[in-house]
Every structure is written in structure tokens, then in C-alpha cells.
């Protein structure tokens, strides 16, 4: 008994250390990504830009403060949002292959964006109609799913997943119709939107997404213990006093909020929502008070690094960030899987 307690304490200490390590690594990755780019900014200039002392050229100032920093921050927020939503949805469905896309939010957002391109509306309202349409599309899909599942009430997780699959297929067919009927010009815009990119990052988007992420973190954090209890099964969780319907409702709403907003600004970016939570679980164990912040940090860093590659590897050209999330995250994930202690952290 005593030995088991000691073991438990040691494990918690290790998890805490790893979480602090990730948290310490996060600003380091942000700073490194901000220092690198197609335009070379030397250490002296960087110092001047950061402290506001001395003179730098107008172009260098604009590149750093108006282009690079918002882009790095947007990538961090998008990656963090997708990973956090993924961690919540995987916990809720107790399914390691669950992806936020399962609740239809990504497909719905894509439909909103594609309709925007179809009618040539992407530039309206100073370019804000496109993210708003994508966000509304994502929410529309989740609301439809909720209507068919009596507001995500308890029971029938399998039914919810199947309804999600059917909803995704239906949205897919409407998407297909728009893609098929689109003009060549609109079709190309749609294709590039679905590849995902942080290239259009601007400060207002960073601010909006930050608010969404803060709300998402708060909502999921208060459900973290309930998500732990849910891992025993819905009935057992209910016996432990967890309101399964409420957890389910809030988790799905949070995922829709996070994925909807992230997708609205950066297009569809796959892989992170699925794999970052797994990385967090492999490193930190299964408790959601560790998995949720771990996934957030890992997802954010992963997309910042992938976007760094997207904007520098082929400079002055851009690469699609979707190619790089898998290229950077995949090998790291495999390395985590092959460690002997992988499942015993």
C-alpha cells in the first residue's frame, strides 16, 4: 500500500516535471520561430525591434511586427485550439481515433468557406465574411448533430459517432456539388483554402482566436475530472456523480468553438487534432488535468514549427502547411510509440 503510494507520488512528480518542461519549451519555440524567416533580421535588429530602442528600417519593422509575429502567434493558437479540441473529443468518446472532425465541425466550416468562394464573396466585409461563414458552417453542422441526438443527452455514444459519420458524408456530398459546379477560378481558391495556411495572419485574428482559446480552456478544464471518470464508462461515471449529458454537451460545444474558430482563420489543418493529444498522453499519462494542457502546448508548438517550415523551406515561395504538420509530427509520434515506457508514463 505504502509502496503504491510512493509510486503514485513519483509518477505525479514526473508528469509535473514534463509538463513544466513543455511549458518552458513553448516560449522558446515561439522566440526561435519569430527570429527566423525569409527576411534575415540579425540579433542586433531583433533586439532593437523587441525593445523599441534605436532605428530599424520600415520594411524590417513591418515584416517583424505586422507579418511574422501575428503569423507565429496565429499558428500557435490554431495548433493549440485543434489539439485541445482533439483531446476533449477523444476523452469524451473514449476512442483514440476520434478526431474533432467527427462531430462535423471541420466539414461544416469547409462548406461555409466553399459557399463563400463559390459566390465570390471571400473579399466582402474586409475579408471577414470568409472566416465568419466558415465559423457559422461549423456551428451549423454541430447544431444539426445536436438536434438528432436530443442535445447530446447521455447514452448512445455509438449513435452519436454514427450520426457524425452520416452528417460528414452528407456535408461531403453538398461540398462535392459546389466543387463540381464551381468555376475554375473559385475551384482553385477552394483547394488552397482546404490545404490550410497561416499566411493571412493579422493581429485582429490573433486577438479573436485568443479569446476563443481562453473560453475553451476554461470550459474543458472544469470538465477534466469528469472526463477522467468517463474513461471508466458512462454508467460508472454517472454512479460517481458525473452529469454525463453536461460533460458531453460542454465538450462538444467547446470543440466546435475551438475548431470552428481555428479553421475559420487557417483553413482545414488535419493531423494535429488527432495526434497532439496522443503525444500528450504518451508523455504525461491519461489524466485530463495533464493531457489537456500538454496537448495544447504540443499542438501549438507543432503548428508553429510546421508553419516555420512552410514559410522558410521554399522561400521566397510558400509551402502548404498541411504537408509539414504530418512530416514533422509523424516521425516524432512514431518515436514516442516505440519507446518501451510509452504506455507507462
Amino acid at each position: 500500500m505504502n509502496a503504491a503510494h510512493e509510486d503514485d507520488a513519483r509518477r505525479r512528480g514526473r508528469v509535473r516535471r514534463r509538463l513544466w518542461l513543455l511549458a518552458a519549451l513553448f516560449p522558446f519555440v515561439l522566440v526561435a520561430a519569430s527570429a527566423l524567416g525569409a527576411v534575415t533580421i540579425g540579433p542586433a535588429d531583433l533586439w532593437r525591434l523587441l525593445t523599441g530602442s534605436g532605428e530599424t528600417s520600415e520594411v524590417v519593422r513591418a515584416v517583424f511586427w505586422d507579418i511574422r509575429i501575428p503569423r507565429v502567434l496565429l499558428a500557435a493558437l490554431v495548433g493549440a485550439s485543434l489539439a485541445l479540441a482533439g483531446a476533449g473529443v477523444q476523452g469524451l468518446f473514449r476512442n483514440p481515433l476520434a478526431d474533432p472532425a467527427l462531430i462535423g465541425v471541420s466539414a461544416g466550416a469547409a462548406l461555409g468557406a466553399v459557399i463563400c468562394f463559390f459566390f465570390g464573396w471571400q473579399g466582402l466585409f474586409g475579408g471577414w465574411l470568409l472566416p465568419i461563414a466558415a465559423f457559422i458552417g461549423g456551428w451549423g453542422a454541430v447544431i444539426v448533430l445536436g438536434l438528432f441526438n436530443t442535445g447530446f443527452a447521455a447514452g448512445g455514444t455509438a449513435k452519436l459517432i454514427l450520426a457524425g459519420v452520416a452528417l460528414n458524408a452528407m456535408i461531403g456530398s453538398v461540398l462535392g456539388f459546389f466543387l463540381f459546379s464551381a468555376s475554375d477560378d473559385a475551384l482553385r481558391s477552394m483547394t488552397f483554402w482546404t490545404l490550410g495556411s497561416c499566411a493571412s495572419a493579422q493581429w485582429p485574428q490573433v486577438a479573436v482566436l485568443f479569446v476563443f482559446l481562453a473560453v475553451g480552456v476554461a470550459l474543458l478544464w472544469r470538465n477534466a475530472r469528469s472526463l477522467d471518470a468517463l474513461q471508466l464508462g458512462e454508467e460508472q461515471a454517472a454512479h460517481l456523480g458525473v452529469s454525463v449529458s453536461r460533460v458531453r454537451f460542454e465538450t462538444i460545444i467547446t470543440a466546435a468553438l475551438l475548431v470552428g474558430a481555428a479553421t475559420a482563420f487557417a483553413g482545414t489543418i488535419g493531423f494535429i487534432g488527432l495526434v497532439a493529444p496522443h503525444m500528450a498522453r504518451l508523455l504525461l499519462g491519461g489524466l485530463h488535468r495533464a493531457v489537456l494542457p500538454g496537448a495544447l502546448l504540443l499542438g501549438g508548438m507543432l503548428l508553429v514549427l510546421a508553419d516555420l517550415g512552410a514559410r522558410t523551406l521554399a522561400a521566397p515561395a510558400e509551402l502548404a502547411v498541411g504537408i509539414l504538420t504530418a512530416a514533422i509530427g509523424g516521425p516524432f509520434f512514431l518515436w514516442l510509440l516505440r519507446r518501451p515506457s510509452a504506455w507507462s508514463a
Binding site: A38, A62, I67, P316
Partner: protein, 276 residues
């Protein structure tokens, strides 16, 4: 138009006043082609991917696909002026470049032989080459006149044409209405047999049940000889050779680009179309 030309002229004189020839980045194949034809080649410091195909631009740095430009990548080449075609984007990226103090001039798009003048004049005004621009406009207009004269004697019996574009994977796509190819088929005095659908659609047997083409126009880059190509087309098969179906190969960058080379390329294709 005149007002924007004046603004551009003022802008250019500011650049000249600095005693430099402005460093240019061009994106969009017609824009790069016009800039090269105006003798601006040495000033071009980077082009988009489509621009690399244009003679003399092969070694220029590549800023990527015209719809997927990156602001920092473009600014890293230190341009004074960025000339882009209408489809360039994403729009916020163009705004970011402007916000960094670099002038961005959008050259209007348009799949019509009548738009080429406007494109040339926009590029010429932005770069202070109005004299050379007018010379190029005169040449283009003369070519368009020659083309119109050559296609005027139709008497309503225009040959049926199908234009095929090769997409990656070797799939052939037929050009319907609302495409650059459709506009060019009309311009060379042909009749697009696929005009009842818009955009590019995968080639299928269905297309040839409604109408049979007299001529197939394909890109030079499509592999295989004419017989192989015709045999591979669904719904046409062996019957094609019997009907004497002809294949015309075109340089699609010139033929479909609606740039300064397009009218002269069209004259050649129009002549080939009229061969018995």
C-alpha cells in the same frame, strides 16, 4: 484609368528620383510576359511559378504559386514594385506587402483578346515605359486585326473543336464555356462542342455523343503521338481516324495566357484549323 496611370507615373518618377531602376517582382504569366517584352527583364528580381516558363526568366527566384504568395518571401527579395495579375492572392498578403511600404499594382484579368492592351498599358504605366508599351500595344492590335481578317470568311460553318488540357496524373480535361480555351476557340473561328457546360470537366464518352469534333486541340506537353491520343479518348476510339479527325498542338502558355504572344500564336492555330 487615366487617373491611376497619373498616380503611377508620379510614383515612378519618385523611384527615378532616387536614381535607381526599380526592382520588380511579377506574378501571373501574362504580367511577366509583358514585363519581359517591355525589356524589364534585368530589373525583375523574382517571378511566380508560371513566370519561370517564360524565356529569360528561367533562373529568377520563384515566389511560388500566384494564388499562394507569402508576404515575407516577397519582401525578402527587396522589391520596389510588385506587379500581379488579378487572381494573385491571398488578398491579405497583398495588403501586408502594401503595409510594408511596397507598391503593389494589380493588372486586370480578362480572357479576351481586347483586354491585352489594358494589361500592357497598366504594366507600362507602372514602370514608366509608356513609349515601349504603346509600341507593344500597336503590335498586338495588328496581330488581332490579322486574326480577325483570317477568321472572317466563315459563312457560319465553323469547325467543331474540343480543347483538352492535361492535368496531373495524365487525365485529360475538356474545356467548356467560361474558360480561357473557350474564348480562344471562338477567337480562332472554331465552335466549342463542349460549350454546354462551364469550366473544365474530365473527358468522358458522353461529351462525344452530343457532338463530334472536327479538330482536337491539345497542349504540346501531352505525351504520345496523335494516333495514340485519339485512340485513348473515350467514345471516339477507332472511329476517329476514319473521320479524319485532326490534332493541333499548341503552346498553352502562349495560346491561353492572354498576353502579348497570344494573338500571334492564335494566328498560327487559326491557319492550322482551316487546313483541309
Amino acid at each position: 484609368m487615366l487617373r491611376s496611370a497619373t498616380i503611377l507615373a508620379v510614383l515612378f518618377s519618385a523611384l527615378v528620383a532616387r536614381g535607381e531602376s526599380p526592382r520588380l517582382i511579377t506574378a501571373g504569366s501574362a504580367v511577366t510576359e509583358i514585363a519581359a517584352a517591355l525589356g524589364l527583364g534585368p530589373q525583375i528580381v523574382a517571378v511566380d511559378t508560371s513566370g519561370k516558363e517564360i524565356e529569360g526568366m528561367e533562373d529568377k527566384p520563384d515566389v511560388g504559386y500566384v494564388r499562394m504568395l507569402g508576404a515575407e518571401g516577397i519582401l525578402s527579395r527587396n522589391p520596389d514594385l510588385v506587379l500581379v495579375s488579378g487572381e494573385a492572392g491571398p488578398p491579405p498578403v497583398l495588403e501586408q506587402i502594401r503595409a510594408a511600404g511596397v507598391e503593389v499594382v494589380v493588372v486586370p484579368n480578362g480572357n479576351s483578346l481586347d483586354n491585352i492592351d489594358e494589361k500592357i498599358r497598366t504594366v507600362a504605366a507602372a514602370t514608366g515605359r509608356s513609349g515601349d508599351g504603346e509600341k507593344l500595344v500597336a503590335k498586338v492590335e495588328a496581330d488581332v486585326q490579322t486574326l480577325r481578317a483570317a477568321t472572317a470568311d466563315d459563312d457560319g460553318k465553323r469547325p467543331g473543336v474540343v480543347f483538352l488540357l492535361a492535368r496531373h496524373g495524365g487525365n485529360l480535361m475538356a474545356a467548356g464555356s467560361d474558360t480561357a480555351a473557350h474564348a480562344m476557340i471562338e477567337a480562332i473561328g472554331g465552335r466549342n462542342i463542349c460549350a454546354d457546360f462551364a469550366g473544365y470537366k474530365p473527358l468522358s464518352a458522353e461529351i462525344f455523343t452530343a457532338a463530334t469534333p472536327d479538330v482536337v486541340i491539345v497542349s504540346e506537353s501531352v505525351r504520345g503521338d496523335d494516333a495514340q491520343l485519339l485512340a485513348s479518348m473515350p467514345g471516339l476510339g477507332a472511329a476517329a481516324a476514319e473521320r479524319g479527325l485532326r490534332v493541333i498542338r499548341v503552346d498553352d502558355a502562349a495560346f491561353l495566357g492572354f498576353g502579348p504572344r497570344t494573338p500571334s500564336a492564335a494566328i498560327g492555330v487559326a491557319a492550322a484549323l482551316r487546313q483541309p
